[in-house]
Amino acid sequence: MNMIGGIDTLDSGSITVDGVEISGYSKKKLVEYRREKIGFVFQFYNLIPSLTARENIETTVDIAVNTPIDVKELMEKLDITPFANRYPNQLSGGQQQRVAIARAIAKNPALLLCDELTGALDSKSAAEVLDFIEKVNQTYHTTILIITHNEAIKGIADKVIRVKDGKVISQETNTHKVSVAELEL
């Protein structure tokens, strides 16, 4: 995921995103690539501790290349407004992850990369976050790539790719897509 997102480089092979080969990009070009196209959500949220929830979301709006999503509207839609002025260490894990997702999508990226986004959460918070991701997908039509060890999550995906020891072992389209409420987390 780090290589797709342009924060790590390849030793061999190539990566094509949206029809463009990015593996040969220079450091400078990779910055522009991340800035323009990629949104990240990490397992441990990675919010900036000295900024409030709202300000953390503003960090991506501030450098958005595409027309950004209105922060106020985004926070309302994603139920962040009640804790918008709180700092990360005053939020629960689920709330922090919601802010991290809002931050990632606020700049309206072409691709949202989620790395074990429920890995640090209990099942109730995980369900909330996945519900939230689904809402993002439906509302903003963002392409979302979720990397997870949790087999159950594949139920909400359109396409499932299995990777083992660094190699793709299967690729399939999910014909039995379910809602988050139906997942057994």
């Binding site: 780090n2 991340r34 800035r35 949220y45 990675n46 501790p49 900024l51 450098i63 260490n89 922090q96």
Partner: protein, 744 residues
């Protein structure tokens, strides 16, 4: 413990800039402390030694009746004193002048500094300053007015360590005034074969200083003494004799303050470094290591830069300390100083920094243990949220809020950087301001001291012949309270002196003190000053009618008639001739001539020596600014490493990240500078007061706006140089940092 101690190498590598900066600051503090006290002690001891061993005079006097060898022996026995007739010849050629001294046996005995001693009649020793300035070499021949001499070496008289040609000269002229030492027989032969002007006087060294007054009365009554100059009134002796004490008193105030500031700065930085180590501390605690063991481990961690800095500082002090000392005694003849660092100072310099850093590290480690192990492992300080809290509801941009919170959420760090910037700006401003003060003294002082283009000082009281120009009287008195010399100048009425610039009152009949006297003694119009005739010891109470705007001389101005009355002269005697044209006064009539151009040159050359010191202060200010800003902003970068890394992941360019993280302290630069201005002005007043008591001249506090602007530019540039250096650090922070470490 062995296992965890293996991390030192890795720590050194990964924190090399921290270690370098801490080591550098420690080195600086140790160097300053070791050198300051050692130099003061060296100067004091070596000058005292040469003055004692070579029997520097306690006074010199002239008598109307010549003293025979028997008279001298009788006086020596009666007053437990050493008395000897001193003699020198003066020769001038162009701008240069030479003073050839007769070798003395009992008082003012010369010391051989270099080469071989003189034994033959044509053998000479030169003073070191003149020899160096004129590239004279031992073993070569030197010709003076057709007389050929062999230079045998370098020597110095204890009464000419501060080798001003005339005691009334403001400063020394090393290049143009040379001193030559000869054997008594060589001197006598030279005197017979040349027409050079000779000066003779008696020098005395008292065995018992308390009997000096009786001695003075004795020579006045029995030998008609008409001139007596004590060592207190003789700046050639008094200035070097007291220099060691003055340097020591300045060192004892300034150096500990600077060293403590530097050591506190370093201690805070070490504390911040350990804050970053909390995960490792937590891991060790989880593995079962005891607090004491971990505390001791980090003590060693902090002691390393202390030891490195101390060793380097001490080495530098040993290598450069002696040369640095020469700046303190730049006006004096260069002696063969015995430089050494006092063992107590050496031990303190080697032990205190390491001990302090070790204790800080131990205390900080113990403080981190107040958090539970889980918090340490998560690198979380539960108080963080409280500390950040401000401007949550403000519509200000997050960048600005980030910067403001960085300032206010770490008040200790902010105060520290403000203090460092304040100190840097202060030192820089001080350097510039002192330069302005000195320039002001040079420009205006020389102008005010020279009312006429030429002042011819005669070596006797003239009555009969008119040498041209306008006539005045100049003489020296003593102030009984401290035995210091004060000039009395009787200036001709209806001359240009009538238009003397006044600070208080207007010039007319009566006595007027120079501003240098007014400031040093706190005297003003309406007060009175007591002076004593140095020969008769008769005291006079003079009422002060005003203050003349003369900052360069310890002088009482009065009219020619009043001066004559004070001196008891019935007839129109004079010993100074003022003129705007050059007059044909020379030879045996003339003691010395002072013209406005040479006075300006002397002022300038003396002040150029001070400039070296001033530039040093300014350099230290800039260095302090660069290093302290580097250290503190480095701390900011370190503590925001994961945020910087995250901003990179989000697609922020390095330039934008620098703008958010590095530019936090811009406002402190301005604040530091503005606070430094009033501090600087206050200190300038203090410096002015010190200069009055030390050099007997008044440096008027003066600070030009141009200097303030240049100084601001220097501080801003040095600040941005530090930020520029830190940009590399920001650009090197990997994006993986935030992915690995952030657990908020």
């Amino acid at each position: 413990m062995k296992a965890i101690n293996h991390t030192f190498k890795k720590d050194l590598r990964s924190n090399i800039s921290f270690y370098a900066a801490i080591g550098l600051l420690t080195m600086f503090a140790v160097f300053l402390s070791a050198v300051g006290f050692s130099d003061a002690a060296m100067i004091k001891d070596d000058i005292h030694k040469i003055m004692t061993e070579q029997h520097v005079e306690d006074a010199q006097f002239l008598t109307a009746l010549e003293m025979t060898d028997e008279d001298i022996s009788a006086l020596e026995e009666k007053y437990d004193a050493r008395i000897e007739q001193d003699a020198y010849l003066d020769y001038e050629e162009g701008e240069k002048s030479w003073r050839i001294f007769r070798g003395m046996d009992k008082v003012n005995v010369y010391t051989l500094l270099e080469g071989d001693d003189i034994t033959g009649d044509n053998e000479i020793l030169f003073d070191r300053d003149f020899a160096d300035s004129n590239s004279l070499e031992t073993g070569s021949t030197y010709v003076l007015d057709g007389h050929e001499f062999l230079i045998k070496g370098i020597g110095v008289r204890p009464d000419y360590l501060y080798s001003k040609k005339n005691d009334s000269d403001p400063w020394v002229d090393k290049e143009n005034f040379g001193m030559i030492l000869m054997t008594a027989s060589g001197y006598d032969k030279l005197r017979e074969s040349c027409q050079w002007q000779e000066t003779r006087y008696y020098s005395v060294e008292y065995g018992d200083e308390e009997r000096s007054e009786d001695f003075r009365r004795d020579i006045y009554e029995n030998f008609h003494a008409y001139s007596y100059i004590s060592d207190q009134s003789n700046s050639r002796i008094n200035t070097p004799a007291t220099s060691g004490d003055k340097i020591f008193s300045e060192a004892i105030v300034l150096i500990p303050v600077m060293a403590i500031v530097i050591l506190i700065l370093v201690a805070i930085v070490i504390g911040r470094m350990l804050e970053r180590e909390q995960k490792y501390i937590g891991t060790l605690a989880a593995l079962g290591y005891r607090r004491g063991e971990i505390g001791r481990h980090y003590m060693i961690y902090a002691i390393i830069p202390g030891i490195i800095g101390s060793v380097l500082g001490m080495a530098l002090a040993l290598i450069a300390g002696r040369d640095l000392a020469m700046y303190f005694v730049i006006d004096f003849q260069k002696l063969n100083y015995n430089y050494y660092i006092h063992p107590l100072i050496a031990v303190l310099c080697m032990v205190v920094p390491s001990l302090l850093f070790g204790l800080v590290a131990y205390r900080k480690t113990m403080k981190i243990f107040r958090r539970n192990v889980v918090s340490m492992l998560a690198e979380r300080d539960d108080r963080t949220g409280r500390k950040h809290g401000m401007l949550e509801k403000s519509s200000m941009s997050f960048r600005r809020k980030f910067r403001i919170r960085e300032l206010f959420s770490h008040p200790g760090r902010t105060v520290l950087i403000l203090f460092c910037l304040l100190l840097s700006a202060f030192m820089c401003l001080e350097g510039f301001a002192m330069k302005d003060m000195v320039n002001d003294l040079v420009d205006k002082g020389a102008e005010k001291a020279a009312v006429y283009e030429y002042s011819y000082y005669l070596n006797h009281m003239e009555l009969e012949s008119d040498l041209g120009g306008v006539h005045g009287i100049s003489t020296s008195y003593e102030t009984p309270d401290n035995g210091a010399s004060i000039g009395v100048m009787g200036v001709p009425e209806d001359s240009r002196f009538g238009g003397l610039e006044m600070k208080e009152g207007s010039f007319g009949s009566g006595f007027y003190i120079s501003n240098a006297v007014s400031v040093e003694r706190g005297l003003h119009k309406g007060d009175s000053i007591e002076v004593a005739n140095p020969v008769t010891l008769e005291k006079y109470e003079l009422e002060i009618f005003g203050v003349v705007a003369d900052n360069t001389q310890q002088m009482i101005y009065t009219t020619y008639d009043e001066a004559r009355k004070l001196m008891g002269l019935d007839e129109a005697y004079y010993n100074v001739v003022y003129s705007d044209e050059e007059l044909p006064i020379s030879g045996e009539d003339l003691a010395y001539v002072s013209d406005s151009k040479s006075m300006l040159d002397t002022f300038e050359s003396a002040m150029s020596a001070l400039s070296g010191f001033i530039n040093g202060v300014m350099f230290m200010g800039v260095l302090m600014s660069v290093v302290s800003v580097y250290l503190v902003v480095n701390m900011i970068v370190e503590s925001n490493k994961s945020s910087i890394s995250m901003l990179k992941v989000l697609g922020y360019r390095d330039r934008e990240i620098n703008g958010i993280v590095l530019n936090t302290n811009h406002v402190l630069v301005i604040l530091g500078f503005l606070l430094a201005l009033p501090m600087c002005i206050a200190l300038l007043r203090g410096v002015s007061a010190v200069m009055v008591s030390r050099m007997h001249v008044v440096l008027e506090p003066s600070f030009s706006p141009v200097s303030a602007l240049i100084c601001a530019a220097i501080i801003i540039i040095s600040y941005f140089v530090s930020l520029f250096l830190l940009r590399r650090k920001v650009s090197r922070i990997d994006m993986v940092v935030s992915l690995k470490g952030n657990r908020e």
